[in-house]
């Protein structure tokens, strides 16, 4: 655990540099139609207590029955994290009283989780890659929700979420900065979304993080950690790590000690505050749930799930680089979402990969971002964008005209090739017409001609003038060649 600290990641304090150490517990809601141990729907929304079975309400004599799809999803996720799959795992009861916990215990996995050690490779923006170890993944029930704003003196309880399956994914304390923490969650979310095991929707609470933060002087043993509960956006995760690390450094530099405790992040104030101390921590009295037999399956079951896993982001990125000649950065951008990668591949199929990536990333993603749209809502289809790339590639339109064409397809739709025809956007390759324009520009600007002969980079000005004269339709290469010839440069 004492790998040399990377100086770039250190935080400057009054007494020198500090290293922040972060480990995370991610609660990811399993994508499944029904809950972990009951047949009730997991649909988001609905009136309070619409999706509650007798089991979820913990009526007397009710028994949990494991939802096989949730088990398969956990195994798929384990495979996606290159983790060890445990063929035998055990469900335990975590006992505590809370109004939104109807059974008085949460069914979870304590000593024997379904998935053991794995890893997540995280690409940082500076091109470096870090490896974050996964300690374990286990299945557990979500709790319901207490509503405190419905009645002057009472609280209400909504059990729609009660019993929904969660995967708790516990990382090793391998994260060394707020940026790494954000990048880790982003990457994990991407993997889960590729696998289809969690929709990763943080606004709906499908993905929440408990962030464990400690600080130390580089080379020192791990410091005392504080756990920041239930951080529900990637941005807040970064802010919470920063704020908590600063707080701890402040205490330590003032000669204080860090108390192990559970804290909450207040995004409004940008600070964490104490929720409960270690002494106040519950004694959960874990023991194996006697209502459920140990969960057992064989390697063939795992192999069958493995055989149907989709291509995951790391593999896809490597393939994009090898197959389409993309830069690692572009490939990384494209694979961040499976839909984006699929879109790119449709555009790139049978075309120049780099040109396709360029158009998808710069034009399409840029425009989608500006409009706040998902790739699924793109008004320009992959076939349409592919046609635009084709038209450039075959020299029918120039890159500049292509941007205009993209704009027309975005707002009005239509077949790009037909649009180019009907609106006369075709590039002029007729040398006669271009030559005429070139001659006119040279004739009209004798002073500039002199300047250009002295300073050949002035050629660009002439190109611009000719393009202007031809409405942008002249083939830029032909313009260049003719100008060079005529000006003798």
């Amino acid at each position: 655990m004492n790998a040399p600290a990377d100086p770039k990641k250190l935080i400057k304090g009054a007494t020198g540099d500090w290293e922040v150490v972060v480990g995370m517990e991610i609660h990811a809601q399993v994508t499944s139609k029904s809950k972990l141990f009951s047949g009730a729907s997991t649909e988001f929304g609905g009136e309070p207590n619409d999706h509650v079975s007798l089991v979820d309400a913990a009526m007397p004599g009710m028994l949990p029955v494991i939802n096989e799809e949730c088990v398969a999803q956990a195994v798929r996720t384990g495979l996606g994290l290159k983790a060890e799959i445990n063929l035998r795992s055990v469900f335990d009861r975590k006992n505590y009283f809370y109004p939104d916990l109807p059974q008085g215990y949460q069914i979870s996995q304590y000593k024997s989780p379904i998935v053991g050690e794995g890893e997540v490779l995280v690409d940082m923006i500076d091109g470096t890659q870090i490896r974050v170890g996964v300690e374990r993944l286990h299945l557990e029930q979500d709790a319901g929700k207490s509503l405190h704003d419905q009645h002057p003196t009472m609280s209400f309880v909504d059990l729609n979420r009660s019993g929904v399956a969660l995967m708790e994914i516990v990382s090793k304390p391998d994260i060394r900065s707020a940026d790494e923490a954000k990048a880790y969650v982003t990457k994990l979310r991407t993997i889960l979304r590729y696998l289809g095991t969690c929709d990763g929707d943080m606004e709906k609470g499908s993905l929440r993080a408990d962030v464990n933060v400690s600080v130390r002087k580089p080379g020192d043993p791990l410091g005392t950690r504080c756990e920041i509960k239930n951080v529900n956006s990637i941005r807040f995760i970064g802010q919470a790590v920063e704020a908590e690390a600063r707080r701890q450094i402040g205490i330590l530099e003032d000669g204080g000690v860090i108390k192990q405790e559970t804290r909450l992040f207040d995004p409004g104030k940008g600070e964490t505050r104490s929720m409960r101390s270690k002494e106040e921590a519950h004694d959960y009295r874990y023991f194996p749930d006697p209502d459920l037999l140990p969960l057992e399956f064989d390697q063939a079951y795992v192999d069958a799930l493995a055989a149907h896993l989709p291509e995951l982001p790391d593999a896809k990125k490597a393939r994009f680089i090898a197959e389409y000649g993309l830069s690692p950065y572009d490939a990384g951008v494209l694979v961040a979402e499976r839909d984006q990668a699929d879109y790119f591949e449709s555009v790139a199929k049978g075309r120049d990969g780099k040109a396709a990536a360029n158009w998808v990333i710069n034009e399409l993603f840029g425009r989608l971002n500006k409009e706040g749209l998902d790739i699924g809502a793109s008004p320009v289809s992959a076939a349409q964008l592919g046609a635009v790339v084709d038209l450039i590639g075959e020299g029918t339109i120039s890159g500049k005209i292509a941007k205009d064409l993209f704009e027309i397809v975005w707002t009005e739709g239509g077949d790009p090739r037909a649009l180019v025809e009907s609106r006369g956007m075709k590039q002029v390759t007729d040398t006669g017409a271009i030559e005429k324009a070139v001659d006119e520009v040279i004739a009209a600007n004798p002073d500039k001609v002199q300047q250009a002969i002295a300073k050949p980079t002035m050629l660009g000005w002439f190109v611009g003038q000719v393009m202007k004269q031809t409405g942008g339709k002249a083939n830029p290469q032909s313009v260049n060649d003719l100008l060079k010839a005529k000006l003798g440069i």
């Binding site: 007798l54 309400a57 913990a58 009526m59 007397p60 004599g61 009710m62 028994l63 949990p64 029955v65 494991i66 009861r93 006992n95 009283f97 109004p99 109807p102 059974q103 008085g104 215990y105 609280s155 309880v157 004694d283 009295r285 874990y286 023991f287 006697p290 209502d291 459920l292 037999l293």
Partner: protein, 493 residues
Amino acid sequence: MTDPTKLTLAEARDALANKSLSAVELTGAFVSAVEKARDLNAYVLETPDKALAMAKASDDRIAKGAAGPLEGIPLGIKDLYATEGVRTTAGSNILRNFVPAYESTVTSQLWRDGAVMLGKLNNDEFAMGSSNESSAFGPAVSPWRRPGSNAQLVPGGSSGGSSAAVAADLCLGATATDTGGSIRQPAAFTGTVGIKPTYGRCSRWGIVAFASSLDQAGPIAKTVRDTAILLRSMAGHDAKDTTSADIAVPDYEAAVGRSIKGMKIGIPKEYRVDGMSSEIEALWMQGIEWLREAGAEIVEVSLPHTKYALPAYYIVAPAEASSNLARYDGVRYGLRVPGKDIAEMYENTRAAGFGKEVRRRIMIGTYVLSAGYYDAYYVRAQQIRTLIKRDFETVYAAGVDAILTPATPSPAFGVGEMGAADPVEMYLNDVFTVTVNMAGLPGLALPAGLSSDGLPLGLQLIGRPFDEETLFSVGEVIEKAAGRFTAPDRWWA
């Protein structure tokens, strides 16, 4: 027919089938017997209208030739079984007004087969007790009395309402549950027959949980044959209980009367506990003799970890109970006693809703699961449980077909006589029965004689996993030799 309530279940079934008796007549007789027997406090809820409506429907099915195997048979249901639209309390104030919107799997199978529900039977609160005295409805009383005495005797527990009702002819059979002896001890105390089937034989779905890894449903009835008939309807796999076994249910009744010639019956030496009364010892010897006469081979066997069973049981069962009973928190259903905040509401509700014995076991269970104590208590108790299971496996692997033991260390005691000062005195009632729950095996208790003061004494047969049939075969041999033991005149009516 003078009094159809005196019939056995099998006799009543035959009378209904040959139409010498109608289901409505039969049910009517029981409804009025139940009304007259309120002093026994066996029923905590009578459902006469429902019973007669069900009986009428049975008569219609009998007329159409569409009778089920239990058509028109009036039964009492332990109040631990959820019955749809019919109050289900588990004998606790915390569920005093609880009316489930669902029917337990076991009772729904009984109704599927044509049985009629007379009402809900008393039991120790959450099935925690050996005398029915911990019930929020007060104790059920045994129809048995010591000759020349008016002292009230307990019918055993926790299924005391079930055993009292069967012994007093207030139903032809009753459902019961057994976590540490709660079917077998009440049967032994009342001269009735009770079987705790193999763990997983009956679904636990819809039965209020006490200790999930030990709880099993089973019947109490007047004869071995009657329990065999009832168990066939109660047993079976249920997808809603993943601990229930997907194993076909045999025709148990067919095993009644089967020869036991050549069977090997084990006699465990460790069951000769210190201070065992001579009459229990004599009863056991008598049982051995009957089986030998019927052609069984008697072998001494050893179950060396028996002495650890009771202490281990009183760790495992309260541990599970402390968690199982956490749901009774006043939030969603059942009793709620308000408080200034949620914690105080919990405290007030649970203090008012649970009786003393239940509170005691919740505290024991919470303690043994606590950080720092878990390994010393719960883990060790589970290790002992494994050893107990292995003891039995070793014996059965050596070819033993069933094991014969006493059912209880004593005959029934008086209401209020036991356990007031020292709860362990009460817990010792389970000394012969808890091993069977710890090992998940089937156990049958049946009457084999009377004590010196004229009260029933029972023997217990322990079988191989899912081999209830052998218990019925062997049990019937003892029953035939010992005869039936019926309660004295109806002093309560």
